[in-house]
Symmetry: D2
């Protein structure tokens, strides 16, 4: 191995798109269609998604990126005085440069457990809000944002998600599930949520394409009728309506016509489990116990210095004077031989 | 005492205005002046404030209310991606219904010590921001908001404020001090900041009128040149430019021409100290050790049930099954005999 | 007359408040009440307004100023992609420093006729919007804003207002009437709208206090149920919830308990008609034919140079090389002798 | 010809990407790179653009779409009270669903001449603003937005653009040129602006990719130092920072490495001139005299009914009872034989 040719494990968007997707983009390239998502490819992709997730009544829209999808959904859902509840670690709270606040809304970060929050926390927060005599002086909680899998790679079980959805319904809150890495969650061996149940336990969710093997793209699936109205106006306003919307339709059709989305999820998760096993065997402490493609471990800095000569990873935080938490990602594009190389390299560290 | 005539200690804005202020409003009532703060009364009030706080180069503006002043200052100071750092308990973070977020900016609440934050906390936060490789994905800290006195009645010492101001200057942050109750802070026996030093240790601060004996009104004093430009445009946009601006000028002139502001601060703080002494003597536990007009104590619920028959207080939070934290406020308008009545009443509780 | 003691006709907010209002503020000054508009004075004022305007089902809120009231109502009413239709001359379009845009909404200015727009114009605009294939790329018209009287002093007749309200209902638009000078409109000899009919032909309207003899204050009357929810949250967020809300209640109670509002409207309108008659007699060309307290005329610059030595007026625009359009206002505070003085002065100009 | 296989002339984004671009996307597909525009392809594309436009000191960023680019640039440039001046027909004024207002800024539409505005208009507007005594009550003009070519296909000459840039500099306004179809403008036979001069006469401009043969993408070129700071923060906040930023770099590198951008511009403009000549020969009245790829003509409705059986066009507006204005676009993808077919078809109309 030569250091100048590092193998990338720092994230899951280091390559272009899966070959099946590229093939279809090439085939359809010179076909003329209408713009702005009103083409036959988008229509077919919408149908495929609604079949897959069992949500025939849903509206499905295609947007380019995750921050864009999050801010558009939330801007469409909330009135000016309303706020979003999420985990402190929620992507909208920490890694979107205040995109939600720029739309006028406070993001309320609750303490998290490995990236997740609970129905009990939500219930307590909302009750406390309305019990406060001065609640009109405080932003009104109206939407709960969770990620599946979470930003730390963990997943909500069927029981946990059911409880959250029920508490949202009880309090009149919308439940928005960010599925930027949804495929890696649904494909996880630990996942007990089938696609249809998952959809039925949400008001709106996204299906991430970028990190799952598309060039780019997130599908927004809107189940709750109150969230459907005029969504395309708001997409356009936020710069989220792609002129050549067909590109999104073509890619999502590729994902859901022949189960590619699930196959790619399985691919990445299996490789991640190999890596996890090796890390545990090496004696590294898990930072989070993740069943998906993102693996967070605590490593000696000395080992990291060696590893980073040949591999990239994402630095998370310092743990103590000689240890750091880091993240290794597999993805749809990860080559099994590269994982083997990494595992061998780690094993060989003294 | 009849229960239907409760004596109010729940806040410091239960009455109209101090008699000297009302007298001057009456005297000047039918004089014709220009509108929007461009009248001779406002000019004189600006001069008086600049003399009092030794800030001859400052711009001084008069606004109606505290939330209005906070959101106008912050909207004027920040670019879209920039955020405010404050204590978790900061008024802008918890009691302005997301006014700052509605202007597009994230409010970053740091853990507090009796309502205060430290220069070290600010320094650590800003350093961590710029050390993060992905800092462009995170809102950029640009302004520090503190309150003097804090929302819990405590005050920053000269040393603490100096350290905060220096760290702000080091990192290119603006320091904004919310003085909604400034008079009660500057008048406190524990205060070691004279008015001129206080002003010199800030980029912009407010001088609260509403809670200090005016019908309404907050003066915004802008020391930092970069914050001065076009401030009146933004006032107008935010609905914060009073047509009959003279009313603000007249009131602030009354405050600062004959030291009324300080006299009223002394009045309230002295009464608060009597009450504090009595509460401590009674054996009540302080919730916060406040040297100003707001006194936070933990009382048995049984006592509160008696007290609230004749007096109002503000409920803060439940402490345990039989105790609650509450707030009693004195103010410019509090009658010494009412404090005596309350003290006697508490003494008499079995 | 000495030039340094100019008599002000440039606007209708040059003085403090009417003596009846000041008297009541003085009387009630030291009474203790709850804050934020939840006091008995506000309750009584709400009742008086609902009686006067025959809108028992309405919600009534009190805010400090006109820009504040306009932006709060519109922010509460619209979703992000929705826009306001108004006359090009509408206050929100030209004199609020983009307050509505700062809340995220486009203001669509239609051509005006002496400050008014018509039902036909609104109908045509909305139809054109929905007929456009790309209407999702264009802000969606959702609220119509008109002023009664208009910014040019003219008034909508019962027929005109009925037509506008009906077209709004047909298209699902809210009708918001800005009554910053409502009293001068309702009191006009040309007005054929009684108070109850006026209210019944709107979804939300304001009753201006500042220009009608209050120190400050606008009442927002919300008739449409969809506009009522959580309005106080949004007031607080916009800095529009006065701590000593009682001050607004006391003033509006004064206006509507003994018909003061109408009396003051009559006073100003009658004086304005004297002035108008004199101007016409002098041969000055009306810029607008206004039946209310604002009189817009075209005068020779030479005459204006003389007039401005002793009187103030508002400059509107240059008409030709030797003539300008200007505005003279009377108000609740205008002294009949001052109007006589001005009329004599004009008569005497060679 | 079969009606179900209409040939599309309604816009210039009906296909995917030019074959040279697709080829390069395919070749580079599985190469691993850093994300968010920090990869070698983006670096090379930046260099190529800076060479082409002679702006070595510029910052170059790549965004996905035009509305996104416009709103990000303007949000980054303006303070809350500042407004954009543009032609009434400006894309930001009429076809972005209020994207600029959603960022808080008023868009001031000036009357246009075939889509253009003049330095004189800008000068007059700005002078009038500052001459108005109440200018603080009016949004402050700070940025001029023009499009090259305009939304009506016309172009600014070197003289016209020089005059606009000079007046902007005189008044301290930023000049932002929207180049969504820049290649069709720069390639026009009527254009007298070379690329370097064009760039030198702007503070910031965009280079459109979507309509010029990319799958998507707009380059933002920032010349003015004040507009550079922290632009990436604001991109991220607005959802405009593509995870796989390399896709933008690869496409723009394809455009500017071997002059593809100019070749495609020439292609479309030449075909448009053939069509224009034929339309004029047929006796159709030009709606606008456009020298670029968008051709606006007034046609009899009877002819349009025939044409639309086999071709698509964009409907603009009704002219009279029997005529309508419509737009035909050529593009990088237009096949010469399709233009010939359309011309023959029109010639054959009785």
């Amino acid at each position: 191995m030569k250091p100048e040719m590092k193998i990338r494990f720092n994230n899951d968007y280091s390559e272009g798109a899966h070959s099946e997707i590229m093939a279809r983009l090439n085939e359809t390239n010179m076909i003329q269609t209408a713009g702005y998502g009103e083409d036959p490819f988008c229509d077919s992709a919408r149908d495929a998604i609604k079949r897959q997730f069992g949500c025939q009544q849903a509206d499905v829209h295609f947007l380019v990126g995750g921050t864009q999808a999050n801010l558009t959904v939330i801007a469409a859902a909330l009135r000016p005085h309303q706020a979003v509840i999420c985990a402190e670690t929620g992507h909208i709270n920490v890694h979107e440069t205040g995109a939600i606040e720029a739309c006028g809304h406070k993001v309320i970060g609750l303490p998290h457990n490995e990236g997740t929050i609970t129905a009990e926390q939500i219930d307590a927060y909302v009750k406390a809000h309305y019990n406060d005599e001065t609640h009109e002086h405080i932003t009104q909680p109206k939407l709960v944002y969770i990620s599946q899998p979470t930003e730390l790679g963990t997943i909500y079980s069927k029981d946990a998600l059911t409880a959250i959805y029920q508490i949202c319904q009880k309090h009149g809150l919308y439940l928005f599930i960010d599925g930027a890495r949804l495929g890696y969650g649904l494909s996880s061996a630990d996942n007990d949520l089938d696609d249809k149940t998952f959809s039925a336990l949400s008001d709106v969710f996204t299906i991430g394409g970028t990190k799952m093997g598309a060039l780019f793209g997130e599908a927004v699936v809107i189940n709750h009728p109150a969230l459907k109205q005029d969504f395309r106006y708001i997409m356009k306003q936020k710069g989220a309506m792609l002129a050549k919307g067909r590109l999104l339709g073509i890619q999502f059709l590729s994902f859901f016509e022949k189960d590619l989305y699930r196959r790619l999820g399985n691919h990445a998760d299996e490789l991640a489990m190999h890596l996890k096993t090796a890390m545990l065997a090496k004696g590294y402490t898990p930072y989070v116990n993740s069943p998906t493609n993102q693996q967070f471990f605590i490593l000696p800095d000395a080992d990291l210095l060696e590893i980073e000569k040949y591999f990239t990873y994402a630095y998370i935080e310092r743990i103590d004077a000689t240890h750091s938490a880091v993240r290794f990602c597999t993805s749809w594009a990860t080559r099994p031989e590269d994982v083997k190389t990494l595992i061998k390299f780690i094993d060989a560290l003294h």
